[in-house]
């Protein structure tokens, strides 16, 4: 096992990376590429790699490695690359606090509490799952209600089952993956219930995880009540009206001992708030420029901590930029600042990064609010491109080449995604 555990924890690093999941590992590599000499990655789990270890299904790496890998394979490749690059890795460790001077309070399981000073910081804390409280499901509070990600960890990492008969609320990707996984493990999956009129996961997961296993997907339907004193005994499900309130006259009960929640992810931004970073109210993550630098100089961010991604490949790609930015911050080899703000327009919920520079190439990531077929994406007056479809569950990316911006002299460009006339 490669551990990369440093012989001693230095008091100062060129770049400190908070989080050792796919975002943090890519950021560390980016920092190395751009010249940082001492790099520390801090991860709270026993092994770096983040959520990838529990994602034992395939489908990772198609963009980045041009082959289909499992989560652990993807993690292992990055981990080896990172450790070969001489990055110090501190696992079982938790960054409790970062102050204005980029001093990190690191609490470790084996080496006590340390204060580490960083020339630049890359935030890569990832995301957490939304829980029951966030959506107010009426009923009792028995055991057997858990997030899909926790269930995935229990099954794939520890070899136990979360129950014998499950209902899944929410059609996020983790929920879809778990519908298949639990079915393979002999758990009876009674259906996936989605309050929205459209699914929330990738289409390939709907097909491969539900259709292929005859697991029903109920759209515009939600769990209206949880029953059972000690353990879940059944749930009441009901279609919803236009205000997303359950229509109880059309409700029915399903006997089950488990309710998995796959109702979305929230960027994990406690440290960002401590640092008083500007937060985008839509993404829940920090506002970033095209080098993934946040509103605080020397603090960079990448991956799910900035906005929720569908594919790990894009997490790696974005975080590599964040790491490069952090490395370059120290050497002073910083490119000129951004000169164009990117503004979400019609049917665009948000755009990342929030600004770009006209002399460099960029990829702008965004999410739509509503599905559309045969549509187009318009980037101010500089670019218009046809899209065959858009879907809130699938991130849209737009590549922008510097040539396009040569003749643009404004300071803001709006992105619209519109039906074709």
């Amino acid at each position: 096992m490669i551990t990369g555990r440093p012989a001693r924890i230095r008091t100062r690093y060129d770049v400190a990376v908070v989080g050792g999941g796919p975002a943090g590992m890519a950021a560390a590599l980016g920092a190395r590429e751009s010249g940082a000499e001492s790099i520390l990655v801090i991860d709270r789990e026993r092994e770096a790699g983040g959520i990838l270890w529990q994602c034992i299904h395939s489908g990772f790496g198609l963009h980045h490695f041009k082959e289909e890998l499992t989560g652990p394979e993807y993690a292992q490749r990055y981990l080896e690359e990172m450790l070969e690059a001489g990055v110090d890795l501190l696992t079982d460790s938790f960054v409790a606090d970062i102050d204005r001077d980029r001093r990190l309070k690191v609490m470790t399981g084996a080496r006590g509490v340390h204060v580490v000073e960083a020339g630049a910081v890359a935030l890569a804390m990832g995301a957490r799952e939304r829980t029951r409280g966030a959506i107010r499901i009426p009923g009792t509070r028995p055991s057997g209600v858990m997030t899909a990600g926790l269930a995935q960890k229990i099954v794939n990492m520890h070899g136990y089952l979360p129950g014998r008969r499950a209902v899944i609320l929410g059609s996020g990707d983790i929920g879809l993956i778990m519908a298949r996984r639990l079915t393979l493990e002999g758990v009876e999956v009674m259906g996936v219930f989605e309050i929205m009129p459209h699914a929330n996961g990738l289409n390939r997961n709907i097909v491969q995880c539900l259709h292929d296993f005859d697991i029903p997907l109920y759209l515009s339907t939600t769990v209206a009540e949880i029953h059972g004193r000690d353990r879940v005994e059944k749930v009441t499900v009901a279609p919803v009206d236009e205000n997303f309130r359950p229509i109880l006259g059309k409700a029915w009960d399903i006997d089950c001992d488990t309710l998995l929640l796959s109702i979305g992810l929230i960027p994990e931004n406690e440290l960002s708030r401590q640092l008083n970073l500007s937060i985008d109210q839509v993404t829940g993550g920090p506002v970033v420029d095209s080098r993934m630098e946040t509103s605080k100089s020397g603090v960079f961010a990448g991956g799910n901590v900035v906005h929720i991604h569908d594919l790990v490949d894009f997490v790696s790609q974005e975080s590599l930029l964040a790491g490069r930015g952090a490395g370059a911050y120290l050497s002073g080899g910083r490119p000129p600042p951004d000169n164009i703000r990117v503004i979400p327009g019609e049917n665009v919920a948000y755009c990342v990064p929030h600004s770009i520079a006209s002399e460099r190439p960029h990829t702008i990531y965004m999410r739509v609010r509503r599905p559309l077929e045969k549509c187009l994406i318009r980037f101010g007056e500089v670019l218009e491109k046809k899209l065959s479809y858009v879907f809130p569950a699938e991130m849209v990316s737009l590549k922008v080449r510097p040539e396009l911006l040569e003749k643009f002299h404004g300071d803001a460009l709006k992105v619209d995604i519109l039906p074709r006339a």
Binding site: R44, T108, G133, R136, R141, P142, H158, P162, R231
Partner: protein
């Protein structure tokens, strides 16, 4: 489990009342046992209590609860100090929206002054705006009572019982009383789900089940009608929205729906008040949530359903007549402490003293125990220590550097300590340490907490529960493939 000699006292029910009585009795040389139905003390009504130490002026001195309320209030500073849990006198504001409610404020103010509750003041709108800028501008006056405070009710239960235990009180959990009978020697014998226990005195502090226990003893002259209250906990971001507990003007059966700055700094809104026949009905409802938020928005317009991170419900043990029922019964040695609804938490220390006096009057000899230690070893709270102390502590014992709960920054050392103090379940750890109580609601830490319970207790992971009984969390794979 039958012993040769009966104990001096058995307390039935480990809510805050039972725990306070246990601790009070542990001052004396007595053989005391507390029997609790749930897996941990405080896990019935007390856990879901709003956590308010009422200012002392709410109830009339014509009632027992009105007399015990102010006495109890004054005892909390010392108890919190000795037992190491948080208590803060944040004060309360009772708000009036129209002239008809002004009379109620005046009446309650006079009632409090009659009891000696100090510094009651009626505030004009200008003062309200200045002190509590989030409150609705429709409020025309408010009664300020600085003596009101907040605690975490479960922490109070744990502090009381830990101290009682250290001073010799025995405790059994997950045990229900099934029969009550007097034996020939004048002792009372309790048949329970886990064997027989006998004592010369039995205190019935069984909360919503107190009428049933009294009926088993043949002295069931009252009936408890549980009144359910739903509470909604809001995200930490709203910390500071209100500084004081905000009350609407009360109705005859309820203090209304409140906005409570909890001791931890989160805002809690609730409770509803609806009678239920089902004594295990801890459901939250769509209607209850709607009622709470509609009512709260009228008082604090900035509150929204979207800020909710958790919800729960509890049952008030209300008796007909709405007063406490405390006293000896026709069964010699059997003492009822029933109908304890609001302000039961506030009054708990006074109730414990009153019960001790009753036992004395009934013939129990009270010899002070010279070895009584009024304090407990305070649990370590790593997150609240200064950096130097954290470095020192974690250097000495690395478990206090290992963060298990990332939302509340709770370390492995604290979780293990809570298990050693008696936490048996995930909820037991959660309510003792706050691990699992934050934003992610246990998504990240519950597995580690389960491992620690299994490790400390030497039990398989599959036998770890959320809160005892049938609340199992994981099961074996069909092929038994678990590690």
């Amino acid at each position: 489990m039958t012993r040769e000699t009966p104990r001096d006292v058995i307390i039935v029910g480990g809510g805050v009342i039972g725990c306070a009585i246990a601790r009070e009795l542990s001052r004396y040389r007595l053989d005391v046992l507390l029997i609790e139905k749930e897996c941990e003390v405080g896990f019935g009504t007390s856990k879901s209590n709003s956590g308010i130490i009422h200012a002392g002026h709410h109830a009339s001195t014509d009632t027992l609860k009105g007399r015990l309320e102010w006495d109890g209030n004054q005892a909390w500073d010392q108890i919190a100090d000795e037992l190491g849990f948080g208590f803060q006198r944040v004060g309360e504001l009772m708000v009036a929206f129209d002239d008809s409610q002004l009379g109620t404020l005046e009446k309650i103010k006079a009632q409090g002054e009659g009891k000696g509750v100090p510094d009651l003041e009626i505030w004009e709108p200008e003062r309200i705006r200045k002190e509590e800028p989030s409150l609705s501008t429709d409020i025309i006056a408010a009664l300020h009572a600085p003596t009101a405070g907040v605690v975490n009710p479960y922490e109070a239960c744990f502090g009381l019982i830990d101290n009682a235990r250290e001073n010799g009180v025995a405790i059994v959990v997950e045990t229900t009383v099934e029969s009550v009978a007097a034996d020939d020697d004048g002792a009372i014998v309790l048949g329970t789900s886990r064997g027989r226990h006998a004592a010369r005195f039995v205190i019935n502090a069984a909360g919503v089940h107190a009428d049933r226990i009294a009926a088993l003893a043949g002295v069931g002259s009252f009936r408890i009608t549980p009144r359910k209250g739903e509470e909604y906990l809001l995200d930490k971001r709203l910390k500071g929205l209100v500084k004081r507990i905000i009350f609407p003007c009360p109705t005859p059966t309820s203090k209304g729906i409140l906005v409570i700055p909890t001791f931890d700094g989160t805002i809690m809104v609730g409770p509803t008040a609806h009678e239920t026949e089902d004594r295990s009905d801890l459901t939250t409802t769509m209607a209850g949530g709607d009622e709470v938020f509609a009512s709260v928005k009228r008082v604090v317009p900035g509150v929204s359903e979207r800020d909710c991170i958790a919800e729960f419900a509890g049952l008030r043990a209300a008796a007909k007549g709405e007063d406490f029922i405390i006293g000896p019964t026709d069964l010699k040695g059997f003492v009822n402490v029933a109908g304890i609804q609001s302000p039961g938490l506030t009054a708990a220390p006074a109730i414990a003293r009153m019960v001790t006096d009753i036992l004395h009057d009934e013939g129990l000899g009270l010899v002070p125990d010279d070895g009584f230690v009024p304090t407990v070893t305070h649990p370590i709270r790593v997150a609240s220590l200064p950096l130097e102390e954290q470095i020192g502590l974690a250097g000495h014992d690395p478990r206090f550097g290992h963060v298990v709960c990332r939302c509340e920054h709770i370390t492995e050392g604290e979780v293990i300590d809570s298990i050693q103090r008696g936490a048996q379940t995930l909820d037991g750890i959660k309510f003792r340490t706050r691990a699992g109580m934050g934003r992610c609601q246990g998504g990240f830490c519950s597995w580690r907490c389960m491992e620690l319970i299994a490790q400390e207790k030497g039990v398989p992971l599959t036998s770890v529960t959320k809160r005892g009984g049938g609340s199992w969390i994981i099961c074996e794979r069909e092929d038994g493939g678990g590690r």
